[in-house]
Symmetry: C2
Subunit: 236 residues, 2 copies
């Protein structure tokens, strides 16, 4: 498939580039073991993530002032302490746990796929994660971004159109020269509505084994790929 007009790829990060659920579950279980308490890491990760969209929504509608994801994550984390039994964690432990989002591990194909795609395209994250979070994550995991773009730069969270259009503008591109790559149909639909090209990548384990992926129509997106290496092949 020839797409000569695409110059840059912007990647959703949580779920698309990195395995947030597995990473958080592993870190929480290690921390719980250290503290000699029992916590279901997967259930904890799911609960934390469930608070994410509603918290951003409160910012998007103006019910909360602009806040970084680090701050929103901490609000949600504090609310989960009684339910999961980590009220006894001290401030330093909670702060370190909150920053697990800076230390998420990539999927097995991520580094090889990004390295291949970088040969022909400008590659950047476009994430609701804050700028420092994305920068720290990339440094730790070796994500070979050409630059780092966060919703924080626009003070708008995805799926607000300012994020997609702002990314094209920062890169000096027309919206149609930029492709959003994501495993979430809702994100891709908003990008398409803003005039971007769209690339769906399947991440069947994002929400854990057996969880169903959100459905989409066969022709909704420009490309549907199995992983990042497949995406590189399809962009051929």
């Amino acid at each position: 498939m020839s797409r000569p007009s695409i110059k840059a790829l912007a990647f959703d990060v949580f779920g698309t580039v990195v395995d947030w659920r597995g990473s958080i579950a592993r870190e929480m279980q290690a921390l719980a073991a250290e503290k000699r308490i029992v916590i279901d890491g997967g259930a904890f990760a799911d609960a934390w993530r469930e608070g994410y969209v509603p918290a951003m929504q409160r910012v998007r509608v103006g019910e909360l002032p602009w806040m970084r994801i680090d701050a929103l994550h901490r609000l949600i984390l504090d609310s989960l302490a009684p339910r999961f039994g980590f009220e006894a964690f001290d401030e330093a432990e909670l702060d370190r746990l909150n920053r697990v989002w800076h230390r998420l591990d990539p999927w097995a194909d991520t580094l090889e796929g990004l390295t291949r795609l970088k040969r022909r395209f400008v590659i950047t994250p476009l994430s609701n994660g804050n700028f420092a979070l994305l920068t720290n994550m990339a440094k730790r995991a070796g994500l070979p971004w050409d630059c780092v773009i966060s919703a924080e730069l626009f003070r708008h969270y995805k799926p607000d159109p300012e994020t997609y259009l702002g990314t094209a503008d920062l890169l000096g591109l027309e919206p149609a020269e930029l492709m959003l790559v994501a495993c979430h149909p809702s994100d891709l639909r908003a990008a398409r509505a803003a005039g971007l090209k769209t690339g769906y990548v399947a991440r069947p384990l994002e929400n854990g084994p057996g969880a169903a992926a959100a459905p989409f129509m066969p022709d909704e997106f420009d490309i549907v790929a199995d992983d990042f290496v497949d995406l590189d092949r399809l962009l051929g």
Copy 2:
């Protein structure tokens, strides 16, 4: 010298990381030869650069609306056409020439120095060059930035304090945890006034052979280095 509190280094780019004068002189001379005209590439580069600070100053005081460096460079370039005899360049040639700032070559020590510094610090540009310019430059030259930060993100040009403080804020750092690295004392003085650490790097050839560097006092900056490899050693 132990400086445990420094977590990130922000680099001035034009002159400090890349040799703007040599790169522009080479490209202009090649273009002139192709057009069978004679242009002194070094004098042309100097004239273009001379228009840079006054043009930014017009933005800083509000005489011009916010404009990217790409647009300011083009304003200056157009004004130089009669003097240097390239009125006959067509729009595509002028546009390509204007983007030579996206294609500047690094100094001989730049890649090795940055690669070493990246092992211990977050490294980012902090340049008045626009975001796309810095991203394209890094991709072409292989500059191993952890992220890209441009004055464009703050809609303030250096030496406005918003640029230095905004960089620390985006990286989630206190100003004193961030060092500005530059070959221009004026930039470093403004960074120091904003609370940043400062690293001077000598670039004796920035303005061509024989041009004098701007003077500074022996104790004005936290570190004074010969080049980026020396900076890495001094930050040891």
